[in-house]
């Protein structure tokens, strides 16, 4: 698939939107509107956006918990207002206030995220199994962080999917940190992509701050999967600009992550990098960029307003909620 001008601009808009909405989430949590917690994707939006923008509506995805599905939903499509309403515990949320967390959007192939890291893997195998049985060329794209690869579920799923040549693409968003534990102290080698060869599948490393690089690689992997050539693993080397979760300290083991280091990392802001290249190439004008910023700000304000106004769910929703 060749990326035409409108594809490149779509990618930009999705990326800029993911940024604006991530910032909105941080704001709403700090104001007490969000109940529970939020794991910001600030700095790491490119893998989610790049990895989903060119998927089909009926492809399945498991979004990474970083960003609570926001970057992934921005690329996959669908209304994001219910994601925010859910975090506010409102009845208009994606799961009607039942979780305060899960961005469940079955119409766009998003079935929510688990609270245990590593849930992604076997479920993605299940969706890939369904995709294969359906015979319509669907794929299952599983996004996960570097921390998850420690779980046994990773191995089981990689093995099963490779063995059966299922249409699944494993996309690792490696930002180098698993909560407070750096990946270099959680894994003896350098690239998580190394693990691919153990299962006989291709493993590729891309710059996760470059949304076009991510898109290119995921599109190639998805096309292979659709053609029945089986799974592959794409490792996006990306960055995390804030702490693991809002409100908790930004630790590296037992010490604060150096502020200078974070400042250095922020020079590779994926949104700024992409915007600047589009401006340089004349694919985007300054007016366009500003117009998009304005529209996104309006959307954010509208999302917040609707969250404020929406009602909380009545406890009666808990009755008969356990079984179908």
């Amino acid at each position: 698939m060749k990326l035409e001008k409108e594809d490149l601009l779509k990618l930009y808009r999705n990326l800029a939107r993911a940024r604006v909405l991530d910032q909105l989430a941080i704001k709403m949590l700090s104001e007490g509107k969000f109940m529970g917690f939020y794991h910001s994707a600030f700095g790491g939006e490119a893998p989610g956006v790049g990895g989903t923008t060119f998927l089909r509506q009926d492809d399945y995805i498991y979004p990474h918990h970083r960003g609570h599905g926001i970057p992934h939903a921005c690329g996959k499509g669908g209304d994001l207002q219910p994601f925010f309403a859910e975090h506010c515990g409102k009845a208009t949320g994606t799961t009607k206030g039942m979780t305060g967390f899960h961005g469940c959007d079955p119409e766009h192939g998003m079935y929510g995220g688990g609270g245990t890291i590593g849930s992604a893997f076997p479920l993605s195998v299940g969706w890939a199994l369904a995709a294969k049985k359906n015979g319509r060329g669907q794929v299952s794209v599983c996004f996960f962080g570097d921390g998850s690869m420690g779980r046994g579920t990773f191995h089981e799923a990689m093995n099963m999917a490779a063995n059966w040549k299922l249409p699944v693409v494993w996309v690792c968003e490696n930002n180098g940190m698993g909560q407070y534990v750096p990946i270099k102290d959680a894994y003896p080698l350098d690239d998580i992509a190394n693990m691919a060869s153990a299962y006989g599948i291709p493993g590729v490393v891309v710059d996760g701050q470059d949304v076009v690089a991510v898109a290119e690689a995921v599109v190639a992997a998805v096309e292979r999967a659709r053609e029945g050539k089986g799974p592959s693993l794409i490792e996006c080397k990306c960055l995390r600009f804030r702490s693991h979760a809002e409100g908790i300290p930004d630790w590296y083991h037992a010490e604060k992550r150096s502020e200078e280091e974070v400042k250095e990392l922020m020079k590779r802001c994926p949104v700024a990098l992409y915007r600047n290249r589009l401006l340089e190439q004349g694919l985007l004008t300054q007016e366009d960029a500003e117009r998009i910023d304005r529209e996104l700000a309006e959307e954010a304000a509208e999302i917040e307003r609707q969250c404020d106004e929406a009602p909380f769910p009545d406890p009666s929703v808990l009755e008969n909620a356990v079984y179908a």
Binding site: K2, L3, L8, K184, L189, D190, D191, A193, N194, S197, P202, G203, V204, V205, V206, D210, V212, A213, A215, E216, A217, A220, A221, R224, S232, E235, K237, R277, E280, Q281, G282, L283
Partner: protein, 343 residues
């Protein structure tokens, strides 16, 4: 005995060609094995010190593990950015340290970035991968022996090395970048996953050598106007409907047709403008930077590129100098033989 430098690119083998072509996977375990063989060989001919570029896979320390050799491996004291700049910086440091030669493990791209900073320190390129023209498919032990002979300074440099040419990209009167094998101008808008595999985006090609028996863009030239290495000339090809079509292997397992509009041999002293803008410039197989609509980029060939060790000549020369053979009465064990006393 001078020290030797080793720059092993840890990144190769995991790029998008794994998805869109069929390149071999030279994983870092295999590179570690090659380095082990290099070190064993160098130690056997008396190399005492090796400088090694550090990396996140810790190839150097892993290679030294359980070798039990006298040679000392020292990791360069440098910060890693995790990009190709690391190799360029490492080459500069090694050149400043006065290493006899720099052994590289990688492809055309690795050697290109090393060549930017190695000055007159000779390169000894070992190919780790199948998409390569510049480095040799040489077994690591032999490369190590050759490096050791070069380090022993027993053979004159003119006999052990040859100059490779380089392509130079000039922008506004300044040298912007170099390439050792090919410059490809493509219609891609972004560097993205770097590799060039989509034939339909290719607009023009510049080559330092054109050989049908090599993979990659050099083969395109090889079929229409062969130019062996050392010809002292370059080849410029414009892609588009015209003269003829060429069937060419641009990557392992990836064979496509390219339309050749025209071609021209050029030499040092000439300056050829890149015909297309805006465009993306790929150097030695990797997209590197874009040229904007109103920018003027020109290409020259410079015959004074990096020095490259000629392994065959080195090992034949060593044989003639009796570096590997000594009289029965002088024998002090096989590892003593190379302590370099010319016949």
């Amino acid at each position: 005995m001078k020290p030797v430098g080793i720059i092993a690119n840890p990144a190769s083998g995991k790029d998008i060609r794994r998805l869109v072509a069929f390149g071999s996977v030279f994983d870092n375990n295999e590179k570690t094995n090659i380095v082990k063989r290099l070190l064993m060989a160098m130690d056997s001919v008396g190399v005492e010190k090796v400088y090694f570029m550090p990396d996140y896979f810790h190839i150097g320390p892993r290679a030294m593990d359980d070798l039990g050799i006298a040679l000392e491996l020292e990791l360069l004291d440098m910060r890693l950015g995790g990009t190709q700049d690391d190799s360029t910086r490492a080459a500069k440091i090694m050149n400043d340290l006065g290493v006899a030669c720099i052994v590289t493990l990688g492809g055309d791209g690795t050697n290109r970035v090393v060549a930017k900073a190695c000055a007159d320190t000779p390169l000894l390129p070992i190919s780790t991968g199948t998409n390569n023209v510049f480095p040799s498919m040489v077994e690591g032990t032999l490369a190590g022996l050759a490096a050791g002979v070069v380090a022993s300074n027993n053979l004159p440099l003119e006999e052990t090395t040859r100059r490779a040419p380089r392509l130079e990209l000039w922008r506004d009167g300044e040298l912007a970048d170099i390439a050792l094998v090919d410059v490809v101008v493509s219609a891609a808008s972004f560097t993205a996953t770097r590799a060039v595999w989509d034939a339909s985006t290719i607009l023009e090609i510049f080559l330092t050598r054109a050989e049908p028996n090599h993979i990659g863009f050099s083969a395109v030239g090889g079929h229409i106007c062969p130019l062996p290495p050392g010809s002292g000339k370059g080849l410029h090809i414009l892609i588009g409907p015209g003269e003829r079509r060429v069937r060419t292997p641009i990557a392992p397992g990836l064979i496509c047709w390219l339309d050749i509009a025209s071609h021209r041999v050029f030499g040092p002293g000439e300056e050829i403008a890149v015909s297309h803008s805006p465009a993306m410039i790929a150097l030695d197989g990797e997209r590197e930077f874009g040229v904007a609509k109103d920018q003027r980029l020109t290409v020259r060939i410079n015959l004074e590129g990096p020095l490259v060790v000629d392994i065959d000549r080195v090992l034949e020369g060593a044989c003639q100098c009796a570096l590997f053979v000594c009289d029965q009465e002088n024998q002090g064990g096989s590892h003593e033989a190379g302590k370099g006393r010319p016949a």
